[in-house]
Amino acid sequence: MEIHAYEKFWLGAALLLIVGFIATVSYGAIGAGVEMIDDDGGTVDPQNLDQHPKFSDPGVYKSGPNEYDVYVIAKQFLFQPGTSEPIRVPANSTVTFHVTSADVIHGFEVVGTNANTMAIPGQISTFTVEVDGPQEYGLLCNEYCGSAHHAMEGTMKVVPEDEFNASATAGGA
């Protein structure tokens, strides 16, 4: 079969484009370290979250130098913490979220970022993000969960380190 020179060029360019797509996604996984959220978080009894060592008192826990664990319960129609009190984390830290649901499937999304997961009853969704400078983010539920789904939102405050430490020693975190 005779293939025209222009067609050969176009076929080669199209193949190169596919290689380029795969290369960028590989770079994202290896170079930028983008991870998928899987079932590594394990399971939990959604009826007895109050007996869980951390979900019984959800919030921010220090887990290492400049590393924090945030336990969040999503339920109809609020995040705990997040809705009635903001999630407060220090700037320039590594934060691991552990999100679960007490009733139905919810979403947990830090608005405008890639920090986004499903909150599934019985399942703990665990993911780690790198937090930059002080900023206030919105939280929202992005999985339809009932009649007040549209009102299910919250706040996450990234506060300066010294401010966070001051409030932590004062008794709240």
């Binding site: 005779e2 025209h4 020179a5 222009y6 060029f9 176009w10 360019a13 484009l17 380029g20 797509f21 960028t24 996604v25 994202g28 930028a32 370290g33 983008v34 991870e35 998928m36 959220i37 691991t96 830090v110 405008g112 970022t113 890639n114 920090a115 986004n116 993911f127 780690t128 993000v129 790198e130 937090v131 930059d132």
Partner: protein, 77 residues
């Protein structure tokens, strides 16, 4: 009765090289210039396709590196 005019006075005298049944605006029925397989160069099409290719590449780079990776707080673990 035939549809094709057959009388001598329907052929115009001032254009003598028009054959019988000639349709105004039709292509010549003889081969004008014969070219080989690779002599046909649709440069305009090539430029168009190359432009399309370039748009794809630019849009992909923008979408992945600016809109996705540049969005802050990306899941890393």
């Amino acid at each position: 009765m035939s549809l094709e005019p057959e009388t001598e006075n329907t052929i115009r005298e001032d254009v003598p090289d028009r054959p019988r049944g000639y349709v105004v605006g039709s292509a010549p029925d003889s081969i004008e210039r014969e070219i080989g397989h690779d002599d046909f160069d649709p440069v305009g099409t090539l430029v168009l396709i190359f432009g399309y290719f370039l748009i794809l590449v630019v849009m992909w780079v923008f979408m992945y590196f600016v809109e996705f990776l540049g969005r802050g707080m990306t899941v890393i673990g």
